[in-house]
Amino acid sequence: MIKTVIIDDEPSAVNVLSLLLKKKCSDDVEVVTTANSASGGKSLIENHQPDLVFLDIEMPGMSGIDLIRSCRDIDFHLVFITAHDAYAVEAFELSAMDYLLKPVSADKLVRVILKIKNEIERKQNPLKAQLQQF
């Protein structure tokens, strides 16, 4: 199970993600907690040691980018969520980072989750992963 944390100031966004994950990826993903601000999210990450973090970029007080910068180690998979930020999307594309756009597409969410799941599995069991590749 992928321990997941959702950080978004929009309650509806958090709800949508939670609901979609429950519907489509309930076998692989478990949302352990959610936060409505970056500062609150930071302590959650430190406390829960999640495998995956869905992070909104624009939040009051502290942005998602600020949160990531303040983290010492990033030992989790990160998926950015944004409603509309052309510059951010460009940056994600260039750095091959995962991102989702609001309103989130269920198909895309499933693909992202599958990709992350494979990566996690590869890390945990490299042989199995290599075999899978063949």
Binding site: K23, E58, P60, D66, A83, K102, P103, V104
Partner: protein
């Protein structure tokens, strides 16, 4: 009778009378008087002689007298001649003298006249010279005047030409400026539309509807989806209209607030309109109120957890439409602190663009749309923000007339 005559000495008459007498005597006394005739003849002869003598005497006397008189006359004549001559002489001399005198006078006169004539001529000449000089001066003056006139005309012509050129240029520049202003206005309108179509608002609204769908709240999701479609339609309809009716703007605001209400729960709002206002008739710049309402919701109210209240009051004060947008949010100061870290790159352009549009409207219509933002306090704690917009009613009339 004859005697009588002769007695007086008038012999001829006496003679005549006598003869008469004799004739008479002959006829009457032819017979008796023959004897007397001889007597009378003698008498007559005597008498005749006497008379002749006397006549002779008398003649001699007369001659003498005549001679004497002649002499006298001659003397007199001589004298007169002398006198006349003297007189003549005198007159001649006098005449001569006179002539000389006259000549002298004439000469003098002539001389004088000559002198005066000369003087006159001289004078005339000087006058003529003066006149000529004057004429020359006049001509010079005229020439100068002409030169001046030509100069002035030339300068005026140049000035007029320059003025025309300048005016043409200013007109051109003004036209260009106007075109630029129009272009800028359109651009600003489009930008305001884009800013209005705040992407975050749009996608967040859609996200909220998505949530409703996932929660299987079909009726609610349908309602909000329709509301969202209405809002988009209004945006598109109003997009090419710089001015819309106040009613349309308020309809749009209601749609907008209802969609925001989905995202931000417990958002209560009231719109109060004074009954005297004809909101269908009044024309205001498109999206004049929306940015303030958006600001109130996003910065004032969304950062608050409960009791979110928004009031829009519209009234008329004198010739102005007064619009009041009041929120009981966290206040500008706190909102600004949050905003600073909230969106570093993203600027809320709505207000900036609106103020630019107000500037353009004031330049085009000469109207000053005043906006005042007041921080509200309740017992020294921030208790929201109030925005006052004073919009002159006549701008609306001007827009309406320019449209028709």
């Amino acid at each position: 009778m004859a005697e009588a005559y002769s007695g007086i000495g008038n012999y001829k008459d006496a003679l005549y009378s006598t003869k008469q007498y004799l004739i008479l005597k002959d006829s009457v006394l032819n017979n008796e008087t023959l004897k007397k005739v001889s007597e009378l003849k003698v008498q007559y002869e005597m008498k005749k002689l006497q008379l002749e003598e006397r006549a002779k005497q008398q003649l001699a006397l007369a001659e003498e007298k005549a001679l004497r008189e002649n002499l006298l006359n001659g003397q007199k004549l001589q004298q007169e001649r002398i006198l006349v001559e003297a007189k003549l002489q005198q007159e001649r001399t006098m005449a001569e003298e006179k002539t000389v005198h006259q000549l002298a006078i004439a000469d003098q006169k002539f001389q004088q006249e000559k002198r005066t004539a000369e003087e006159r001529a001289k004078y005339d000449k000087t006058i003529a010279l003066e006149k000529a000089e004057q004429e020359k001066l006049k001509l010079e003056k005229q020439r100068m005047n002409t030169i001046w006139l030509v100069g002035i005309l030339g300068i005026s012509a140049i000035a007029a030409l320059l003025f025309l050129l300048f005016r043409q240029r200013t007109q051109k520049r003004r036209a260009v400026e106007k075109a630029q202003a129009l272009h800028r206005m359109t651009e600003l309108e489009l930008q305001s539309l884009r800013a209005q179509l705040n992407p975050h608002f749009m996608f967040n609204s859609l996200n909220s509807i998505q949530e409703l769908i996932l929660l299987e709240e079909n009726e609610k999701s349908n309602t909000y989806l329709s509301a969202f479609a209405d809002l988009l339609r209004m945006l598109l309809d109003n997009a090419n209209q710089p001015f819309i009716s106040l009613k349309k703007e308020l309809q749009f605001l209601e749609l907008y607030i209802s969609l925001e209400n989905l995202r931000i729960p417990n958002l209560e709002y009231t719109i109060n309109i004074e009954s005297c206002l004809n909101i269908e008739h009044l024309r205001i710049p498109n999206m004049m109120l929306q940015p303030y309402v958006e600001n109130a919701i996003w910065h004032g109210l969304s950062n608050k957890q409960s009791n979110r209240n928004l009031q829009i009051n519209i009234g008329q004060r004198g010739g102005n439409i007064c619009i009041e947008i009041v929120d009981n949010g966290i206040g500008r100061k706190k909102a600004a602190e949050i905003k600073r870290v909230y969106r570093k790159q993203h600027k809320s352009k709505g207000m900036e663009l609106l103020s630019d549009r107000f500037t353009l409207i004031s330049r085009e219509y000469g109207a000053d749309i005043q906006t005042t933002i007041t921080d509200l306090y309740k017992e020294e704690n921030p208790a929201g923000t109030k925005v006052d917009i004073i919009y002159p009613s006549w701008v609306s009339e001007k827009i309406l007339t320019s449209l028709s």
